[in-house]
């Protein structure tokens, strides 16, 4: 045991260093959100303010449009995540299991959509959505986010389906299942980690999306939270305390969401299916 002590310590220290590095911005967010305005610039750089306050939080919750942004974001991100995951599961399964002539082209086209910088597409999309009455609406955002997330999510799901032995659904078919029953009852339960990962990925992508939200929405009624954050920036000043408090609050659903799906993210669900 003695010989392995040093590497273990080094290993833990490296991990610790990485975690501190990764979480430090979050810590700063939290710190600023509880720092009273009068101390923000007067105390210099300190790890923790000498006095803390909840006033930013109460202001954000009671006197700003933040709850609306929050609700909008929840609707947009949740719907996008669910719709994208359903589409991506079906298309990912098709790409993983079926051989069809158009496969090559479909994959090519899907890759193509990932190639353009989104900024280029804002104007045409605005042009398309305006006559449809989908600008300034949550539905419009959901449609756009879904369209942009489906290709990548499809590839993600495909790789998860590829990891499930084909023998399993063949066994199910021999047991008397149709192809769809085998998909629903055998393959889908085994893909839960993949589904959870896809849900989480799409949810956070939609949750933090700013460009389209900014361009397609004006006014507070349909604004999502990233757009809402900008309302704390006025022409003359930035209200950092309130902005950070809003940021901390916005982290809560994402954190809850991952807490909810994390048990599916652990791998090893297919262990024992096949020998070797």
């Amino acid at each position: 045991m003695k010989t392995s002590l040093l590497p273990t310590i080094a290993h833990r220290l490296a991990l610790l260093g990485y975690i501190v590095f990764a979480l430090f911005p979050l810590f700063w967010l939290l710190k600023v959100s509880v720092t009273p305005n009068d101390l923000l610039y007067s105390e210099g750089v300190r790890m923790w303010p000498s006095r803390t306050t909840w006033e930013h939080y109460s202001f954000v919750l009671q006197h700003s449009a933040f709850p609306t942004f929050f609700k909008n974001s929840l609707i947009v991100s949740g719907s996008t995540a669910i719709i994208v995951t359903i589409c991506a599961s079906l298309s990912g399964y098709a790409l993983s299991r079926f051989n069809f002539r158009a496969k090559y082209w479909i994959v090519g086209l899907m890759l193509l959509t990932q190639m353009f910088p989104l900024v280029m597409l804002v104007a045409p999309i605005f042009k398309i959505l305006t006559p449809l009455g989908l600008t300034n609406s949550l539905t419009g955002l959901i449609v756009v986010y879904t369209a942009f997330n489906v290709p990548f999510a499809t590839f993600l799901m495909q790789s998860f389906f590829d990891g499930i032995p084909k023998d399993l659904e063949e066994a199910a078919m021999i047991d008397g299942a149709t192809k769809f029953t085998a998909f629903r009852e055998i393959i889908l339960p085994l893909t839960l980690p993949g589904i959870a990962a896809t849900l989480g990925f799409v949810f956070t992508a939609a949750w933090s999306e700013l460009l389209f939200a900014l361009m397609l929405i004006n006014g507070n009624n349909a604004a999502t939270f990233p757009v809402g954050l900008l309302t704390f920036v006025s022409k003359f000043s930035v209200d950092f305390g309130q902005m950070m408090a809003a940021g901390v609050l916005a982290l809560i659903p994402a954190a809850l969401f991952f807490l909810l799906i994390q048990r599916y993210l652990v791998q090893g669900l297919t262990a024992g299916a096949v020998k070797g």
Binding site: A171, T178, G272, A273
Partner: protein, 355 residues
């Protein structure tokens, strides 16, 4: 239970033909074993019978009914996969009852079917476990149990024992034989294992390169292999082959040794032939008998001894129960008895006696 008729069945992947005109009639209740080297198309044939692979040409009938276009679920066949393919998210009972559930069998019936299959296979204490918490042998039993809970028309086995250790394999082999005795189910069994093939089969089908080489009872393939391929494939250690020339009454080996044959063959005088002799049929001669061969290697197997020799510069194997062979010198004398000699013509086919 059912008969399976395979008529002129072909399989091609694109331009690559992997099965050529397979013709095979499997009778109701028969146990047929498919053997052949890796890649010869055994699994493909099995999967075509199950409906997991399409049929490129020919016709497949189960109980006289054409099934070429039938979905696997409608063929009512059970299959034990090479990989077991257990459902990892279901426990043992769930794995075994899945097919019955899909058939909307009554709950009590499912319970009793699972219980009886489990007790047959010694799985009772494991019914609540997930596959991941089972050993290889236990998983193998569950895979078997999943097949026997319902009474399918036929059982297909794709090397079900190939990942088990020797002892467990032996035990499961006996188990399968016993089960077939009880259920009398039509079974097709793919294996690489000589002993499994010999002990389980009513008939063995030897395949090579997507072509059926010989179909027959195990001893028929052992005693009268139809061609050099079957002769070399069946039996372990494999048969020895030597070049020779045929003349009326016997064959002449390269070194001039003449071996008289019990009956004349339907061959022209002077025809080039290959003679084969199984290592267990070679006689270790005393002084003055047979040919001299150099000893390369002595392998005691416990049961007997395998001698690796070189005869006329070719590798040659002898299997003997005589422990004296352990102390064989640099050379030994070997002799062949004519009734154990197999003669194959220039095309590699077995030569038959001229009427």
């Amino acid at each position: 239970m059912a008969s399976i008729d395979i008529q002129n069945v072909k399989k091609a992947y694109g331009h690559v033909q992997v099965l050529h005109d397979i013709d095979l009639q499997i009778k109701d209740g028969e146990f047929v074993v498919l053997v052949g080297p890796s890649g010869c198309g055994k699994s493909t044939l099995l999967r075509m019978i199950a409906g997991l692979e399409g049929v490129t040409g020919g016709e497949m009938r189960i109980d006289g009914k054409r099934v070429n276009e039938l979905h696997p679920k409608d063929r009512d066949i059970a299959m034990v996969f090479q990989s077991y393919a257990l459902y990892p998210h279901m426990n043992v009972a769930g794995n075994m009852s899945y097919s019955l559930k899909l058939r909307k069998t009554a709950k009590e019936k499912i319970a009793s079917a699972v219980a009886s299959a489990a007790s047959k296979l010694g799985l009772d204490p494991l019914l609540d476990r997930r596959p991941r918490a089972l050993s290889g042998g236990q998983r193998q039993r569950v895979a078997m149990g999943r097949a026997i809970v319902r009474q399918p028309k036929a059982f297909l086995f794709d090397e079900p024992l190939s990942n088990l250790d020797a002892r467990l394999r032996e035990q499961m082999r006996a188990e399968i034989k016993k089960m077939h005795g009880d259920l009398k189910a039509t079974s097709i069994y793919v294996t690489h294992d000589q002993i499994e093939a010999m002990t389980l089969a009513d008939r063995i089908v030897a395949m090579h390169g997507g072509v059926v080489q010989q179909v027959g009872a195990p001893l028929e393939l052992y005693d009268r292999p139809a061609n050099i391929f079957v002769a070399g494939f069946i039996g372990s250690p494999g048969m020895n082959f030597l070049e020779a020339t045929y003349h009326a009454g016997g064959v002449t080996l390269k070194d001039g040794t003449v071996i008289a044959l019990p009956a004349p063959l339907a061959l022209a005088d002077g025809a080039k032939v290959t003679v084969g002799i199984r290592p267990e049929h070679v006689v270790m001669g005393g002084e003055g008998i047979g040919m001299v061969a150099g000893v390369d290697l002595v392998e005691p197997t416990g049961f007997g001894i395998i001698l690796h020799l070189s005869l006329h510069g070719l590798a040659f194997k002898v299997f003997t129960l005589d422990r004296a062979a352990l102390s064989a010198g640099p050379t030994v004398r070997v002799a062949f008895s004519p009734q154990h000699l197999h003669v194959f013509d220039g095309q590699g086919n077995r030569c038959v006696p001229s009427s």
